[in-house]
Amino acid sequence: MVRGSEILSKTGISKTLVEIMVCPLSKQPLRFCQKSNSLISDAIGVSYPIVDGIPHLVPHDGKMIDSDTATVPNDSVDSSDSKKDS
């Protein structure tokens, strides 16, 4: 788990936001992945991009994480239905 201060320095996201951001679908805390510059929700295996210091925490922008590194874009999400088949 990357500490809040590390996220702050690397992406420009404010401390306030880091403390209250959660995954929009699972409401679980997010983890910052430096390599892909995105926020990962481990609970459901989705990564949300950070563009220019602004995190895009919308289901539409989330990408399913496929095993290790390859990510598959998830355009079919228009509601949370596809994520709820667990």
């Binding site: 209250i20 959660v22 602004i54 895009h56 925490l57 509601s79 709820k84």
Partner: protein
């Protein structure tokens, strides 16, 4: 689906799940195309004028309510339609120290970020959807939504998630467009379409009625709910100016059932009908905007509670004796 003695009974959900997310989505009716709304807001970010009378009036009205409370709101979340106007007109009300601006449109946020503000409020930006709120429970003191929630598919769900994001004794302030909004446009569109195309497609969104707003607040679990309504009439030089204004506010049609083609004839006919039916003597046309303001609080032990049934110590008869029998009794 339940099977009962050979017949299939459809399990009918009566309300969506209270925490807004977990469990299968039960009554997910798609009225609005949220992706299209996002793109429209991207465009509005470019078309927006820095000073829009209608939007500014609504924002001022909402922010005035902050001065009515003794409470201060160090952390605030602001999302939806005119969050730019809220940010601009804040002027220290509510003693907000940290503000989080949320919008589905990245361009809107960028234009907010680019504007210079006089105050020193720490502002953070996040792209998020009201229906899938990416905010931790009990983390903000204040949630403001100015003219945004009337584009959600699941308004109760969005309000429930807003309530959960609030700390106990946190305030929820929202302004949405009400049912009377753009009634002249609705009428003109219907008449013109019937004449030209022989049928009608929805042009104006279904909007909440004032009587529903109170129910929405209680259903979302807010305590001490308050609803009030204001009607504004804006005058435009022509029907096309009205449409331009709607585009600049990001309030254009995003209904899933919308007819994607608008014939030039129909458009001109609509403008003509509008002008002939509603024009004033000076040639300007009015458009009604009915704004419903909703306030609600997250429950807290310090708030007044109704007393337990049967705990009354004074009867109505005593009250009547006290205040005199010459007053009519209802």
């Amino acid at each position: 689906m339940l099977r009962k003695g050979g017949a299939l009974l459809l399990r009918r959900p009566f309300c969506s799940s209270s925490d807004g997310f977990s469990g299968p989505s039960q009554s997910k009716v798609k009225i609005f195309d949220r992706n299209l709304k996002r793109k429209q807001r991207d465009r509005a970010a470019w078309l927006m004028s820095p000073k829009d009378t209608l939007v500014d009036t609504v924002a001022e009205n909402i922010l005035d309510r902050l001065e009515d409370c003794k409470k201060t709101f160090p952390t605030a979340l602001c999302f939806g339609g005119s969050s730019g106007a809220i940010r601009r007109l804040l002027r220290g009300r509510g003693a907000i120290e940290k503000l989080i601006m949320m919008d589905t449109s990245y361009d809107m946020l960028k234009s907010c970020q680019a504007t210079k503000y006089d105050d020193s409020i720490e502002t953070s930006y996040i792209v998020g959807d009201e229906e899938f709120l990416p905010i931790k429970e009990s983390s903000v003191d204040l949630v403001i939504s100015c003219l945004g929630l009337h584009w959600t598919n699941d308004l109760p769900g969005a309000m429930i998630q807003s309530r959960l994001a609030l700390k106990p004794d946190g305030l929820f302030l929202a302004a949405i467009m009400g049912g009377e909004t753009l009634k002249e446009l609705r009428i003109a569109c219907t008449i013109a379409q019937m004449e030209r195309e022989g049928g009608i497609s929805p042009r104006v969104s279904p909007l909440a009625q004032v009587r529903d707003a109170g129910n929405l607040l209680t259903r979302a679990g807010f305590t001490l709910p308050g609803v009030d309504m204001d009607e504004y009439t804006v005058r435009y030089k022509s029907a096309l100016d009205l449409i331009e204004h709607l585009r600049a506010m990001g309030e254009t049609n995003a209904l899933v059932q919308r007819h994607k083609i608008l014939k030039r004839e129909t458009a001109l006919a609509t403008a003509a009908v509008y002008e002939s039916m509603f024009a004033a003597e000076d040639g300007t046309i009015p458009a009604t905007y009915q704004i419903i303001y909703m306030t609600g609080w997250r429950e807290h032990s310090s708030q007044q509670q109704p007393k337990r049934r049967g705990s009354a110590t004074v009867s109505f008869q005593d009250l009547q004796k006290q205040f005199g029998s010459n007053t009519s009794s209802h």
